[in-house]
Point group: C2
């Protein structure tokens, strides 16, 4: 496995584990120039991103990742695309999602520069 | 609409129109440093990417885009994530897909630097 793939995999596992345990701790993965587009809503910066994630209309959620693909990207970053399913409290139907990240290095640690999330509905 | 959004939308429309009409013409959108990860298979450079796309196990395909999200990305690029459905010849069942691109500027025109494609199967 190439180094960028190992970093992407480790990032994705940590990201969703943290999301499902305590979303507030995701703050460590963003910076003030981080962008999140969550179901078409655009949000800039750590504080606003964490506020958005904490105010999603569910308290408990479990993510399952089905695929993790990554590539080296511009400016020594890593582009990551995930597909998977999430299960929220009070529902017995998992929902498919896809999420694309661009990771950048900042002072020796990786952070999320770009983040785009979408639920994926059945095609037919 | 911000300029990067307009560029992303125009790119996505042109990309799938070209894909569905004559895949070989997609060569104009890639460069020798372009990366494609297609269903986990990694491919580098225009020639290899076009060969891969031309040898997919269907001759006729129609893409439908359901969502197009974009953000400014590192190195003055644009990150784009698409969700949609594709219908291949001989099947009456559309399949969901997601595709993430990073566009870069080269000599006044945009090209695909990163490209990750995945079919998305129903979650449950």
């Amino acid at each position: 496995m190439a180094e960028f793939e190992a970093i992407a995999k480790q990032f994705v596992e940590f990201y969703y584990k943290t999301f499902d345990e305590n979303r507030a701790n995701l703050a460590a993965l963003y910076r003030d120039d981080s962008m999140l587009t969550f179901e078409a809503t655009g949000i800039l910066g750590t504080a606003a991103i964490i506020e958005k994630l904490q105010n999603l209309p569910f308290q408990q959620v479990q993510h399952r990742t089905d695929t993790i693909d990554s590539q080296p990207s511009a400016d020594n970053g890593i582009m990551v695309m995930v597909t998977g399913a999430l299960m929220v409290e009070g529902s017995d139907r998992p929902m498919s999602y896809t999420q694309a990240f661009q990771l950048k290095m900042d002072g020796g640690s990786w952070y999320v520069f770009n983040d785009i999330f979408r639920l994926v509905y059945p095609a037919a």
